[in-house]
Structure formats: C-alpha cells, structure tokens
C-alpha cells in the first residue's frame, strides 16, 4: 500500500491563473521523486467558464487521476459549489474568506477561509500563490522548495517579479503554519528527481529523438501542443516547422519533405485527420513513409473540442480509399508516446508506408512524471532500404547516365520492399505516382491499363506487411490467468484500468486481470484470441459510445466480449467507474455499463 497518495484540485474561470500554481506544485512534487498525474478540465473559451486542474501525487507509480480530493483551491464561488462535495474526510479547502462562501462540507473537511487581501498585500493575482504556499505547508514541504520553484517559474520575468511572488508565498506559508491543521502525513523526499511532461511534449520529443527534420501542422486542439513544442525548438534542433493553410496542405507538404529523404511528421485531431486521409493513401501508394498523429477529442464534427474520447479508431482504420499498407498504434501513456514515435519511424522507413498514432486529449494534454532514466534520446535509427546521394566510395551503384533504365523504384521483390532512392541521386531517376504504376514508376494507364501489372503491384505492397507483426511486441496479460474477469482496454486507458483492477482485488474481493492492446495494425490476432478464449468473463473498457474497439476485435478475431464499459461524456474514466461497472455486470445480466460523471467540468 502506498504511504502517500493525495490529490489537489485548483479551479476557477479561464484566465484566473490556474496553470502557474499548478505547474509549480507539480514541479515541487516531481522534484521530490513522487509519481504525478495531472489533468486539466477546461472549455473552448479563453476567458471565463470553468477550468479545473487536478494534480495527483503518490509515492508509487500512478497512471491516472481520481476524483477524491485532499486539497481544494477554489478561486471563485463556482468552483467551490461544484467541487466541495468531492472532498475526502481529513481534507482541506483553501479560499478567499472575503469573496467566497464555503457552503456545507462533509464531516472532517477543514474549511480554511484565508485573509487574502492582507496576505497578498492587495495583489489580485497573488491569491493563487498564497493558497499554493499554504498547501505546501500542510503537506509538510519546506519553504525552500517553493522558493526554488517560484524562482525557476518566473526567471524570465526578472528579479522583481520573483521577489514579489516569494514574499506573497512566504506570507501564505507562515499563515498556514500558525493557523491551520497540517495533514496526518508528510510528503516524503524520495531522493530522485522525476521529469514532468505532457503527452504532446512526449510526441514532439520522440519525434526529434527519431530524427524528425520536418514538422507541419494546422492548429487544432488538443494536438496544438506538439506544434508549439516543435516551433519553440525548431532553430536549436534544426527542424523545419511550418504552420500550413489547412490539414490537406499539411499532409501533402509532409509527404513532399519525406519524399526527399527527411523524417517528417504531423499531428492533428479527428477533424484535421479527416482532411488528411487522401494524402495518407498517397503516402501508401508512392511508398513514402510519414508519421501522422491523431490526438482524439470528442466528436463527431467539431464535437467537444476540449474533451477526451477514443472515437477515431474506425476513421483511422478506414482512412483513404483502396487497400494500402499502414501501421496504427495507440500508445498507452506519455512515456509510451515518447518511446513509440521512434519505433514507428523505423517501421515506416522499413516498410515504406504511413504510420499513424492514436493519442487522445487525456494523455496528450495530461501531464505525467517520468523517471528520467527511461527517456532514451538516442533510440535506434533504422532507415530501411534507403538510397541517399553522398558519394560513398564503398557502395556499389550499378546505374549510370541520365537515361538509365536499370533502377526500379518499385521493384517487385520477394519481401515487397523496394530500394528507395530519393530525388537528387544520380542514376536513379524515376517518377513516384499516385496512379497505379509499374516497377519503374510508369503509370500503367499511360500504356494500357494492365490488370496483371495492377495485381502484381497491389500484391507487392500488401506483401510488405507480412513480416511487420514479428517486429512489434504482442500484448501481455497482466494479473492471474484464472481471474474472474478480464478487462480489455486500448490506448490511453491503461493507467486507470490498472488501478481499477487493484481496487477490485482490494476493496471488492474480485479477482480481475487486464489485457491492454497498443498495436492496432498489424494486429496480434492469434495471441489475443488465445488469451481471451481462456478468459471467464471479458469486459471491454473504452472511451467511446459504440464500442469501436470491441467491433474491431470481433472483426479481426471473431471474438465477442461478454460485456462493455463505455464512457462518452468527454471526461476520462475514474477507477471507480470501472469497478462499479464490473460489479454490476457480475451481479446481473447487464452487458453494458455507462458511468455517469459526478462533476460538471
């Protein structure tokens, strides 16, 4: 059992300054070696509305947030009213006693009206800092940690701003020391600094580690963080970053850059991905590898732009007309995003096809702590069968002259993989065509549409993927094999399902195991069928309305899950949603559980 596992909520209107105290708090906790998971619930407005940041910290690894708070910092009345009911016994609510009415709290909740005006010296933006400092005091964290974090946070704003914030922080800290009851636990210092990153940062960093030289995007929540990271680092890291007129332009530009030999990438959300789909078919047809990320949000159409969902699976499976090889992967966490992007680039270079990543708002905008030793910035780079110019005296080049006919870009090899020369290489002139083409690139409709050649080339492309499955790891069943229930998830829900399994075992006495699937195409049908056909009761857990993955699983394996837990209200699963669904399905004939989210955020 963990010694320390607590959750802090900071909420207010957009523009009230929630991100800054949130960042400082998360930093301080991560620097002490705690595992962090943070998630910001917000709306598509720049000022006003309701924004609520949850930071959970624990001394053991966690992969999700919860909705049972130890500390609530409401910056306005609305936040107080919405969230007071979620406070645990022994928890504390810190608020401006002048402007906010506390309401009725459950027993054991410490309501702490703070004399904000006095403590901040009238600085209207200082209330957040006071509450933050008071919280740290209650958690038993020394003031120096806060001073260091404040200094780092405001270092670009100059000495005066830093000093002002430190002074306000000290007032809050000392007030809490003198007037408030500390928690029953102290936050330990585990002695190892943890790194903090969002999934969007992780995608971008995975990209640069893989050698991305070209990144293009059109801003679209919740994928814009990748563009901003890339733009910030473009000059330092030598990456061409372009904001393009639309997502059609994005994917075509990325394919153009990739065609010259760059590793090139783009990220978008479902609507932008829809515009990119024809381009993905081009990547498949001309065999120019790219990586394209879809950070899913609640759809369809504009949907709920700032809320999470796993609703784009079938869009991705069906992206672009015709058959073409592609790889689809749904990473399970921020760290997994970082590690998967370079792996995917190697696969795409090897198989000369597009690679698609399904992320979602939950992990892309959510923040997690990561052990820095896990961040390998020098992953293996394998470009596959690529021919670059450069004049190596060692390599053979049997081609010659400007009108050389010996090189076949789309050579019908046994593996289906053909040697890929990039423009500029002497002796390898060819055309890359989205029309069906012959081995040398000639459009078959420019001679006579030849059904035998068409069949040959379709089979060549398809054949490339025969070995792909052996290059990626199959999913692994976690937990006892003879469990009562098997929970199956995919992508971003791994952390919350793991915790639900623990809660089922601990609080409910139900033995569950967990199969989490990450590689969608190609699919480990055999391994998955083997595992699930031995399971007693299989329940699919997914963040969409129609059970997209359950249908995919059935289409690939013939296996139908016994039950489903689905959430499609825009908010992520909490562990108890899954626990309650499992209990309901074991106790009755229910095969579908749809949890109700308890707070309006």
């Amino acid at each position: 059992m963990p010694q320390v596992d607590f959750e802090i909520g900071i909420g207010g209107a957009a523009g009230q300054g929630i991100a800054t105290p949130g960042n400082i708090m998360a930093r301080i906790l991560a620097r002490r070696g705690l595992s962090i998971n943070a998630y910001n619930a917000y709306q598509s407005i720049i000022r006003g509305g309701h924004t609520f940041l949850t930071i959970r910290a624990s001394d053991r690894p966690i992969g999700n947030i919860n909705t049972k708070y130890d500390v609530l910092i409401p910056l306005n009345q609305d936040t107080m009213d919405r969230h007071l009911g979620l406070m645990k016994a022994g928890s504390t609510v810190l608020f401006d006693g002048k402007s906010i009415e506390p309401g009725t709290a459950a027993e054991g909740v410490q309501l702490c009206p703070l004399p904000m005006k006095e403590l901040t010296g009238g600085n209207k933006l200082g209330g957040n800092m006071v509450a933050l400092a008071a919280t740290l005091r209650l958690l038993g964290i020394e003031f120096q940690a806060l001073e260091d974090a404040v200094t780092l946070q405001f270092k670009k704003k100059g000495e005066e701003i830093i000093a002002g914030n430190v002074e306000i922080a000290r007032a809050g800290y000392e007030y809490a020391e003198a007037n408030l009851n500390p928690f029953s636990f102290n936050v330990p210092n585990l002695g190892k600094r943890m790194a903090l990153l969002t999934g969007n940062d992780a995608i971008a960093m995975g990209g640069v580690a893989a050698g991305v030289k070209f990144y293009a995007a059109y801003p679209m929540s919740p994928s814009t963080g990748v563009l901003m990271w890339m733009a910030r680092h473009a000059r330092k890291l030598g990456i061409m970053v372009r904001q393009v007129e639309d997502e059609i332009g994005v994917v075509n530009m990325v394919i153009g850059a990739a065609h010259t030999g760059c590793r090139a990438m783009c990220a978008t959300s479902g609507g932008g991905f829809a515009l990119m789909t024809e381009g993905l078919g081009m990547s498949g047809m001309i065999e120019t590898p790219i990586v394209c990320v879809d950070v899913q949000r609640a759809g369809p159409a504009t949907g709920v732009p700032t809320k999470t969902e796993q609703g784009d699976l079938w869009q991705m499976l069906g992206a672009a007309q015709g058959d073409y090889p592609k790889i689809i992967v749904a990473p399970t966490s921020q760290l997994d995003l970082f590690k998967t992007v370079p792996e995917l680039f190697n696969l795409c270079d090897k198989y000369q096809c597009p690679g698609l990543v399904l992320s979602d708002l939950l992990i892309s905008e959510g923040t997690a702590s990561i052990d820095p030793d896990e961040l390998d910035f020098h992953p293996e780079i394998d470009r596959g069968n690529l021919i670059l110019p450069g004049g190596s005296e060692e390599a053979d080049n049997p081609y010659g002259g400007y009108n050389d006919n010996a090189y076949l870009r789309y050579k019908n090899t046994e593996s289906g993989i053909s040697p890929r020369a990039v423009p500029g290489v002497p002796g390898h002139i060819h055309i890359a065509a989205t029309d069906e083409h012959d081995e040398d690139g000639t459009l078959i409709s420019d001679e006579f549409t030849n059904p035998h050649k068409r069949q040959m080339m379709a089979e060549k492309r398809q054949r490339k993927m025969e070995t792909a499955l052996s290059q990626i790891g199959p999913p692994v069943l976690v937990g006892p094999e003879d469990a009562t229930v098997t929970l199956v998830g995919w992508g971003s829900t791994k952390g919350v399902i793991l915790e639900a399994v623990e809660q089922l075992a601990g609080e409910e006495g139900i033995v569950a195991n967990h199969l989490h699937i990450k590689w969608i195409v190609p699919f480990h049908s055999e391994e998955i069928t083997g595992i699930l056909s031995d399971s007693k009761h299989v329940i699919m857990v997914e963040n969409n309305a129609s059970g997209q993955f359950a249908r995919y699983l059935r289409s690939e394996t013939g296996f139908s899950a016994h039950g489903h837990i689905r959430k499609y209200d825009g908010e992520p699963f909490m562990p108890h949603h899954i626990v309650e669904g499992v209990k309901a399905q074991l106790e009755s004939e229910t095969q579908l559980s749809v949890p109700t989210h308890e707070i309006m955020v």
């Binding site: 000059r235 153009g256 850059a257 820095p372 670059l388 423009p423 065509a433 000639t442």
Partner: protein, 302 residues
C-alpha cells in the same frame, strides 16, 4: 541496423537533347497544346544546362498533370490539387533541387486554389506551370475556374453563369514574384518565359494557354491567333506593378502574353528560414540529437 546505402556520384556529363526525353511517349490527344509545353520545358532545361537528376517535376491530376511521366527528371504525380503543397515540402526538404510544379487550371485554380494562394505569399522558390485550357479534359469536358462566362459544357448545357478566375492579377496580388503567361503555339517565346521562371528566385507562375482540341471548341488556336499580343514586343515594363495589372486584366480583342510582373527584392521562404542557412539539404543531414541538445531538453523537464 540501418541498411541505408549511399550512391556513388556519376561521372558528370553535359546534358544533351535526349537527356530529358521520358520513357513514355505522351498520350495526349493529337493537337493538344500540352505537347508544346513539354517540349518548351525540355528545351528550357537543356539551355539552362540543368542535370536531370537535380530537377523534380511535380504535378497534380489531370491531362496536363501527366507531364512528369513524359520527361526524364525526378517526378511526382501527386493528388488532384495538391502539387504545390507537395512541391513546397520537397523544396524545403531539399532546397538544392530545381522544383517545377505542373498541372492544369482545374487542378491549380479550382481544387488546389487554397494551396495556390498560400504558396504564392510564402514565395517558395519554385516554378509553377499551369497548362490552362479553360476546361476539364480528363473528366470529358466540364467547366473549369477559367472557363469564360456563357461557355456550354457537359456540366453547363445552358452556358456557364459564373465569372472566371483571371490568374494573372490574382497571382500578382497574391504575392507571386514572377508572373507570366505563355501560349503553346508560341514555342520560342514560351521557352524564354520558362527559363526566366526557373532561374527566378521565388515563386514563378507561368500560365500557358494550352488549347484542348477535344473539349474546348470555344478557345481554339483559331480563336487565340488574332488576339495574342506579345508584351515584350510592346515594350511592357515588368517592374511596373500597375501597368502589369492593367495588362493582366485585358481580355477580349487583345490578350497579352509574356512576362507581366517580376520583383527580385523579396527573399524566398528558404532564404528566410534560419534552419536552412547552413548544413545543406535537410534530407541529407545526420539524424539524431547531440549530447548537448539532449542535456538542454532534459533540463526543461524539471
């Protein structure tokens, strides 16, 4: 392990007339204006002594977009309307390549209109040749964005009621830095326009009247012949923006061809991007991060 191979350089030879001859004979209709455009482009490349492997022709979809298949340079035959987006990516990926985008009026001014506007304002260093036949040919004869008002086609049996795009003023105000119009029946003149466009540093549009002898029976060689006036013969100054706009708007009894507008005072997109200042084409650069870069990235994470 990487199986990347690097190719030995070829002995440099002087390109000859055959160097640009494609493997496939063009399958355009006999009499199509596109034959002359292909021929003019091959002549321009030869006269500029550009090596075929350092040139890439990138098209969209349509009759004229088949051109990259008929010329011996690197080529891409992309999607309908997307040639300029792909060409921009190619140019930024390897800015040492001479990039020539080709296509038709429907491809460039219709479905690709958005990319057309934005590629111009970015002043990407590429040549865009639009074989403008004022009709959709490959779909067997429907109106295009440059079809004249009143034109009867299979999609406008009673005559088109829409106004056409005039690409010349559109390109001028859109930010193109070299704006020309050629005519496929004036081959020598077209070769000179193309040479100027290819050597121009920045976005160059060469809109070429390239009559469709099968589906456009309005704007034929006979129709153009008395109307075409060559700007170079009239002493037009291509650095005079307002005179160029006036000429660009002329349509009817007199239709000017030639170089309307050129400016050389604006940097190209590639010249404006610090990332390309040194280190050669992005495509050929070493992959991966230095220890110093990694240290800086990690430091951001605490």
């Amino acid at each position: 392990m990487s199986t990347t191979v690097e190719s030995k350089p070829q002995p440099a030879g002087q390109p000859s007339g055959d160097s640009y001859k494609g493997k496939i004979h063009p399958d355009w209709c006999p009499g199509c204006g596109d034959f002359s455009v292909l021929s003019a482009l091959q002549k321009a490349l030869l006269e500029l002594n550009l090596e075929p492997h350092k040139v890439i022709a990138i098209s969209g979809i349509g009759c004229s977009s088949n051109l990259p298949g008929f010329i011996n340079t690197y080529g891409m035959h992309t999607l309908h309307g997307r040639s300029l987006a792909v060409a921009t990516g190619v140019k930024l990926g390897n800015h040492e390549l001479k990039v020539i985008a080709t296509g038709g009026d429907g491809d460039g001014y219709g479905i690709g209109g958005n990319h057309f506007l934005h590629t111009m304002r970015r002043n990407v260093d590429l040549t865009y040749i639009v074989m403008d036949n004022q009709i959709y040919g490959l779909t067997t004869g429907q109106i295009s964005p440059t079809s004249i008002k009143g034109m009867k086609t299979k999609s406008t049996p009673e005559g088109s009621v829409e106004n056409p795009i005039n690409p010349i003023p559109l390109a001028m105000v859109g930010g193109a830095t070299y704006v020309a119009r050629g005519y496929s029946a004036k081959l020598k003149h077209l070769v000179e326009l193309l040479k100027g466009a290819i050597m121009h540093e920045g976005f160059a549009l060469v809109d070429v009247f390239s009559p469709c002898v099968t589906y456009n029976l309005d704007n034929t060689y006979q129709w153009f012949k008395p109307r075409i006036k060559i700007l170079e013969d009239e002493g037009h100054d291509p650095t005079d923006f307002h005179a160029a706009l006036d000429k660009g708007y002329l349509w009817g009894e007199e239709i000017p061809i030639g170089l309307f507008w050129r400016r050389t005072d604006l940097p190209t997109l590639e010249q404006s991007e610090a990332v390309l200042e040194e280190g050669g084409p992005l495509a050929y650069r070493q992959l991966g991060l230095s220890e110093e870069q990694v240290r800086d990235l990690k430091e951001e994470l605490y």
